[in-house]
């Protein structure tokens, strides 16, 4: 059984017991435990079920490479699936449940898949489930989905109870990894004066050296102290280098509250770091060995077994068999023995066995079997014994050795993920049997120079002394590359330990037959076995990417940290080619999964996106505004009174406005000031009509096209004085059109003398609309003349309106006598209130965007975004009067000369009047006879705007119809999606006051 040892455990504080819950059971651990070590201490070796066969799974590792020990953690707004036990620090009240089983971890129905495993090889689903056709969707897929997936989905209605944030940071040198190599590299770099950031994903500095021995007593503590004393160094623990991106961009994933959820503050902080140079001292990950039954709970990585004993004072078992192809695993045997536990046998696949460490182990009386292998592990939910055989043979069992844990080591693989994210290449190191970074082909930065280097074990320097020297060189190199003068540090001199070389063992025993290969796991979580990879190769899925995708090898939540190298070695072996020829799959960020919430950062709820507010926003809010998002603005769609529906409100607002007086908050309209000697010339290019001839104090409606000829914006242009114009744009258009103007001025006509400023938000603007609009303005008084002749239609004046500094434009979008009054935004709310009070006697009514839309439609005015959709040219809308014939050029003119734009077959704007007065549905198309070559019904037009007009008490619409203007009076059919056919007569688009008398009073 696994249990807590009487002593040992560098990380835990035995004076501070911690209580936690596992599947409802109350268990005890100590502060400093990880969830994994605490579960082991409670003899909970089995921690989950595998993905495909639902086989029992125990913890195999002690770090972020762990594929098995994943849990549903927390409750309510703090619930999270797939939490990795090996990287989850224990805290009081922590509560987890195991995953991917039903009804329980101990008894799981899904395990049936296991008994059928033989019928479910890699990719079996590509070959089956095809008949009958509907069965895939209704039978097979639902079944597969249910048995797949790992953790529980968080509750759909519960909001995340935590907060998250980002942080921008800049450094000359960033070191990822706080083991001895990282610390040394950071120090050497920092000595040059460079600004250095070093991060460690664990809560502790020092890494494996704290288990396997420091270069010298207190080395780590000393280095950490020195670094803490340097003010050009920033040190972060619990922060993982998640991904390396172009131009030195590095993501740091800092877990601030995972270990202390009771404290205030953000849970995660995502660092967006811009690094001059990056050093990855991310260490190495131990590889499992591929023998039958290597997935049975109790089979663990040798290094992990050592960690649990040394760091947490936890023994994975009383009798730990060790199996290896290298010297390092002997450290585990020695550690186990020193902890007072049994090591029945060390199985060393190498005929020659190990070196110094092997002698030490033998000296302690441990039995060592060279040239031997594990033929098979027995046991179901826990290891019972190992059956030994000759590594050279096919697995004939020589003897059975009882044990309750197996510590395996297939050698170590440098963690090259961060090196590879941005294009760093790898070389295969034959001697050490591993891929390591190819220094000659690093990822390149904006200057075409390498910006990542690896240090220590991550660079393939597994030996402590070599690793330190490598780290020192990396620190020096990085500092120099970042532009600093650097020198190496003085290092403790360490004797090269005389380990005997590793001998690659990809299959154990090497001659294992199909039976054994079908039980030798590569990917524990996804249930990929040696036989699966061999099958893929046999079927021609020869590219490592094909094999990965066909077998799902390395696609589990550990992204193949344990399985990839073993898998591609098997693949290479099967294809009879060298490992480098096979190559690796692409390493993609993040190194280990990071929370979606940390990626979203602060952008949630009210600050998910900016909401733009006008100075009158609060008034609208307080007066029943029914909001409509327009770009980032919120505009009142209408104002709801009492129980009325939006539709009723819109009708009321229109009637009141046409009858007496309405107010519209028009502040969102774009207002661009264009000034300079060439301003007129510039606007003549920008608009389809002639603007240079506009007289000061006058307004003119203008159209803007894209260079591709399509109508892109419209608005009223005002000539403020001789050399300055005010261009109104649509609400959505202000920034876009401002950018458009700057683009042409800066990149095409840079010699023209024109300046543009976006004054949109300087002005609050109110549409004062209706027969009584003049009266209410006159009530406000002031020195401006707004009389019929003083300010004629399409005229502009400015001055004091009451106490306000106002600009007044007499323009009419609703077809009534109306004015647009603009005042500085800081006076906007006051103006609105003043108009409200003064308008009371006229039954003043605020109206929203929908009433505005309907009223302009009644007048036959087009609306950008309704009549236009990016495929419409002004000529389609019968706006020829607004297209200057005199001008040689304007933006879009050339495009409009193209054959299809000139075609007489283009659909043209007309009014549409339903025969029965009903309202044509939004977006309906007018059908024509027959079908096209693709069997689609022919069409001859579509509706662009369609409303119920309270003024005319009937449905009105505008639409684009083939040769429309020539077909006045003709009735065409608009089939609705509801089956009814709407018959509409083609009429003039102006439904209300065609003579325009109302606006000219």
């Amino acid at each position: 059984m696994s249990t807590r040892l009487a002593n040992g455990g560098r990380r835990i504080d035995r004076t501070r017991p911690v209580e936690f819950r596992f599947n409802g059971k109350r268990l005890k651990g100590f502060e400093g435990d990880t969830l994994a070590s605490a579960l082991l201490a409670n003899d909970q070796m089995m921690m989950g079920r595998s993905f495909k066969y639902h086989r029992p799974r125990g913890v195999v590792a002690s770090g972020s490479e762990e594929p098995n020990a994943l849990f549903n953690m927390g409750e309510g707004g703090k619930f999270e699936p797939n939490q990795r036990a090996t990287t989850t620090e224990l805290f009081d009240g922590l509560s987890v449940t195991s995953q991917n089983h039903w009804p329980s971890l101990e008894f799981d129905v899904g395990v049936l898949n296991n008994y059928a495993a033989r019928f479910l090889p890699a990719g079996f689903y590509y070959k089956t489930f095809m008949f009958p056709r509907p069965a895939w969707k209704h039978v097979f897929e639902p079944f597969i989905r249910q048995s797949a997936g790992l953790g529980r989905a968080p509750d759909k209605e519960t909001l995340d109870a935590d907060t998250y944030e980002h942080f921008y940071f800049f450094a000359d040198v960033v070191v990822v990894g706080g083991g001895v190599a990282g610390l040394q590299a950071a120090k050497t770099a920092a000595l040059s004066g460079a600004k250095v950031l070093i991060m460690e994903q664990d809560p502790h500095w020092g890494g494996r050296a704290m288990v396997d021995g420091e270069p010298e007593e207190g080395f780590v503590q000393r280095l950490v102290g020195e670094l803490e004393g340097m003010d050009n160094v920033t040190m972060r623990r619990r922060m993982m280098g998640a991904g390396v991106y172009d131009h030195g961009y590095l993501l740091g994933y800092e877990r601030l509250r995972d270990h202390a959820p009771m404290l205030a503050g953000p849970r995660h902080r995502l660092w967006r770091i811009r690094a001059g140079q990056i050093i990855t001292a991310t260490g190495a990950i131990e590889r499992p060995l591929s023998f039958a039954g290597n997935d049975i709970p109790g089979v663990m990585l040798a290094g992990a077994v050592r960690d649990y004993i040394a760091e947490y004072g936890v023994s994975p078992g009383d009798r730990v068999a060790v199996v290896t192809n290298n010297d390092d695993a002997y450290r585990t045997a020695i550690a186990v023995k020193k902890a007072g536990l049994e090591v029945p046998v060390i199985v060393d696949a190498r005929a020659g066995g190990g070196g110094e460490l092997a002698r030490e182990a033998r000296g302690m009386g441990i039995r060592v079997e060279n040239g031997k292998a594990i033929a098979k592990v027995t046991g179901g939910k826990r290891v019972k014994s190992v059956k030994l055989c000759a590594q050279a043979g096919e697995g004939a069992v020589l003897e059975e050795v009882a044990c309750d844990a197996v510590a395996m080591s297939g050698g170590w693989s440098p963690v090259v993920h961060l090196w590879s994210h941005c294009g760093g290449k790898l070389v295969w190191d034959e001697a050490e049997a591993m891929f390591r970074p190819d220094e000659s082909r690093p990822p390149l930065n904006q200057n075409g120079a390498g910006f990542v280097r690896c240090a220590g074990a991550a660079n393939g320097a597994l030996d402590l002394g070599a690793g330190l020297a490598d780290a020192d060189a990396a620190g020096k190199g990085a500092a120099e590359a970042a532009g600093f003068k650097a020198r190496g540090d003085t290092l403790p001199d360490l004797a090269q330990d005389d380990a005997l070389p590793i001998e690659p063992v990809w299959m154990m025993p090497q001659g294992a037959g199909p039976k054994l290969r079908m039980k030798a796991w590569l990917d524990y979580q996804n249930d990929v076995k040696v036989s699966d990879v061999q099958l893929a190769a046999r079927e021609g899925y020869e590219s490592v990417e094909h094999t990965k995708r066909y077998t799902t090898l390395g696609m589990a939540t550990d992204q193949g940290k344990l399985s990839n190298i073993n898998g591609l070695a098997i693949l290479s072996d099967t294809l009879g080619q060298a490992i480098p020829q096979t190559g690796t799959t692409t390493f993609r960020p993040p190194y280990t999964p990071i929370s979606m919430a940390s990626i979203a950062g602060e952008a949630r709820g009210e600050i998910f996106q900016p909401v733009r507010r006008t100075p009158m926003h609060a008034w609208h809010e307080a007066n029943g505004a029914h909001w409509e998002p327009v770009g980032h603005w919120r505009r009142p769609y209408c104002y709801l009174k009492g129980e009325e529906t939006p539709h009723e409100a819109v009708s009321r607002e229109i009637r009141a406005t046409r009858a007496s007086l309405g107010l519209l908050d028009a502040s969102t309209l774009g207002k661009l000031i264009v000034k300079g000697p060439d301003a007129g010339k510039f606007l003549d290019m920008l608009y389809t009509n002639m603007m240079s001839t506009l007289k000061p104090g006058r307004c003119r409606y203008g159209l803007m096209c894209s260079e591709n000829g399509f109508l892109s914006d419209d608005g009223v242009v005002v000539r403020l004085d001789e050399d300055s114009f005010l261009c109104h744009t649509t609400t959505g258009g202000a920034e876009r059109i401002h950018g458009h103007m700057e683009e042409w001025l800066q990149t095409e006509w840079w010699d023209w003398q024109v300046h543009v400023v976006n004054a949109t938000e300087q002005w609050a603007q109110v549409g004062v609309v209706g027969p009584n609009s003049r009266k209410v303005l006159e009530k406000l008084g002031g020195d401006v003349d707004i009389s019929k002749d003083g300010l004629s239609f399409m005229g502009y004046t400015s001055g004091k309106l009451g106490e306000f500094d106002a600009r007044i434009f007499r323009i009419a979008f609703a077809g009534e006598l109306s004015y647009e009054v603009a005042v500085p935004a800081s006076q906007g709310r006051a103006l609105w209130d003043a108009l409200w009070d003064a308008g009371e006697e006229f039954g003043v009514t605020p109206y929203g965007t929908e009433a505005m839309h309907v009223m302009r439609a009644e007048k036959g005015f087009i609306m950008i975004g309704d009549e236009t959709d990016g495929t419409v040219i002004p000529q389609d809308l019968g706006l020829h009067w607004a297209i200057s014939k005199k001008k040689e050029d304007y933006i879009g003119k050339r495009a409009q000369e193209r054959t299809f734009m000139q075609s007489s077959d283009r659909w043209q704007l007309v009014g549409l009047e339903t025969v029965d007065g009903s309202v044509i549905p939004d977006g309906a198309y007018a059908v024509a006879e027959g079908e096209n070559a693709n069997g689609q019904r022919n069409v001859q037009g579509r509706v662009t705007s369609t409303y119920y007009s309270p003024t005319l008490d009937r449905g009105i619409a505008m639409g684009l119809v083939h040769k429309g203007p020539e077909r006045m009076g003709e009735v065409i059919d608009f089939p609705g999606t509801d089956g009814t056919i709407y018959k509409a007569k083609i009429v003039d688009a102006v439904f209300y006051d065609p003579e325009g008398e109302k606006q000219n009073v």
């Binding site: 172009d246 131009h247 904006q446 200057n447 075409g448 050339r894 000369e897 193209r898």
Partner: protein
């Protein structure tokens, strides 16, 4: 995530401060021009695997347009320069040639 230097305000900022504007040095063809000239101007693009001369605007900054010479394969940046030019200045051409001997782009090399 690119870093770009704006030659107008001197800021070296990350991609999110800027807005890409596509291929640079396009010659505008107006009314009366040939169909193919206009099509080339509006739609046909070099889209090279390698050195690309392109437009950027410092939209969350000084608001100015400028040009950048950038490799679309390595994302290496050879330099940024004024948007008020008809072709890249000699020092930019030299900077590119130094890193990509024998490069050429449209009529430039």
């Amino acid at each position: 995530m690119l870093i770009l230097e704006c030659p107008c305000c001197g800021v070296t900022g990350e991609e999110t401060e800027f807005h890409g504007g596509g291929e640079a040095h396009l010659k505008r063809f107006g009314p009366g021009s040939a169909d193919t000239d206009f099509e080339n101007y509006l739609f046909m693009r070099e889209n090279p695997k390698g050195v690309h001369l392109e437009r950027w605007r410092h939209v969350n900054g000084c608001g100015k347009w400028f040009h950048v010479a950038r490799c679309t394969v390595t994302l290496e940046i050879f330099g940024s320069y004024s948007a008020q030019t008809l072709e890249p200045p000699q020092e930019i051409k030299d900077a590119i040639s130094a890193k990509r001997p024998g490069w050429s782009w449209r009529d430039f090399s």
